[in-house]
Amino acid sequence: MSKNKTFGQKAQDLFRNNTVPIMFIIICGVCIYLSGFSWGYLLNQVVTRMGRNIFLILSLLIPIMAGMGLNFGMTLGAMAGEIALILVADWQIWGIPGVVLAMLLSIPFSVLLGLMCGKLMNMARGREMITGYVLNFFMTGFYQFVVLYMMGSVIPIKHSSIRLPRGFGVRTTTDLSNMRQCLDNQWALTIGGVKIPLLTFAIIGLACLFIVWFRKTKLGQDMRAVGQDMEVARDAGIKVERTRIISIIISTVFAGFGMIIYCQNLGNFPTYTAHANIGMFCIAALLVGGASVEKATIGNVFLGVILFHTMFIVAPKAGQNLTASPQIGEYFRVFVSYGVITLALIMYEAKKRRTKSGAGALLAQAQKAQREGGETA
């Protein structure tokens, strides 16, 4: 059928299916021109940010596969990663062993939080995204209680660079200078002034391979079946609730690992607020890459990170050059981040309605034809 389409129709379809990435490519192109940054600088920044963010964004793919939409609950995994990092920093485990230990330590926290999140999302079926989003606020309060009052008093924290001078609670910034960029600097390759963190990319590559492999497993197929139609999957003997919980647990564990990679790249993190917007920015980057609430691929992750972070880098400078105020560029990128999420959600709903009304029209046509056939007989 698509062979019969004219070039104009094909172009229209292409634009309709990739509105957000096309829009972003245009915005980035204009901003790159206005910013006046050299390609070497831009590439260096984008590669650094790819290493920092991709793992976090990959954590969003599996819940989408299971039909649970964009997992705003990934923030819980980020909190688990932060708690693990605080403990590892207090124990003074540095470098790559510190990162590995933090990852191992984050797993039980992530699993517990993911289990809770998954169970709640099963209770709020069909409203997973808003549930995950509100759950973040609730868990942020609990996280702050644990880190501010329980660490140092109930949970032993002894190192003075981590603990507040009053004797309990953790400082507002957790210093990770002894593990800063330990993954990124290992096997780093510099080509034409651009530093390529090979080990970090190898870890990201492994995560991508895991996702590709996981899709082919029995559990992965079950998740896809659940994502397509829960009732049909249930009739086929798939334990729908369990499958959905596992998808959220995997996502939360991945988010914990991602947060550890993110923080090791920065070399410190704001203890009480680092996770606050991480879900929002990861989701925005994924949507910018052309993903939707019901479909996302590894390609969307890579494209999204490149486009979203290119805009992050160039927008303030473009704003400064255009209006003599970098703040304008700052406002612009915040506006675009949230705007793109809104646009993607609207487009998803519109598409769903269009498909539904199309199916309704087809059904009505079929019924009419049947009726006419009956009358003739």
């Binding site: 124990w91 003074q92 485990i93 540095w94 470098g95 790559i96 062993p97 510190g98 590995v100 230990l101 191992l104 330590l105 797993i107 606020f137 702050q144 501010l148 190192h159 003075s160 507040l164 001078p165 009053r166 004797g167 609670g169 400082r171 507002t172 002894n178 009480y272 607020t273």
Partner: protein, 156 residues
């Protein structure tokens, strides 16, 4: 759950715990301070070197005159450093030193004259204790406020 599945899960848990324990040992970081200072211990005096240069992992950790202090960071407990000692006549001596660091101490001060003078560990090793900060009872300003439009006021 069958036995095979249970055994595999147990093995994974044991592997993770073993990996974690290994990381705790090999990744334990220490800050090491090298003192080239005069030390009197048990009636014996250890005089500082005219000049000593400390190399850790092939990188210079300080060119120390008498009363100077250098520092380096080290992962794990098996510490190795190379010393280039220069005496008053300009004669140079290069030697490697291996030490076992205590796991529980973060900052370790090593008095080089006492170490090379053959004194006991009590003499040449000391713990670095940072100056205490003034204690405050205040909560840190988290700048979280009230998301429903209020400020950071307290409720009574």
């Amino acid at each position: 759950m069958n036995i095979r599945k249970l055994l595999i899960r147990l093995a994974v848990v044991v592997l993770c715990v073993a990996l974690g324990a290994t990381m705790m040992v090999i990744g334990r970081g220490h800050t090491i301070y090298f003192d080239n200072k005069k030390l009197e211990y048990n009636g014996q005096t250890y005089e500082p070197f005219h000049k000593v240069q400390v190399f850790v992992k092939g990188e210079s950790a300080g060119k120390l005159q008498p009363r100077d202090r250098g520092s380096a960071i080290w992962l794990g407990q098996n510490f190795h450093m190379d010393l280039l000692i220069t005496d008053e006549d300009g004669q140079e001596k290069f030697l490697g030193v291996d030490l076992k660091l205590p796991y529980s101490i973060d900052g370790i001060i090593i008095n080089l004259p006492a170490l090379l003078g053959g004194a006991g560990q009590d003499a040449w090793m000391d713990e670095f204790i940072p100056a205490p900060e003034p204690v405050t009872d205040d909560d840190p300003n988290l700048d979280i406020g009230d998301v429903f439009g209020g400020g950071t006021e307290t409720f009574e």
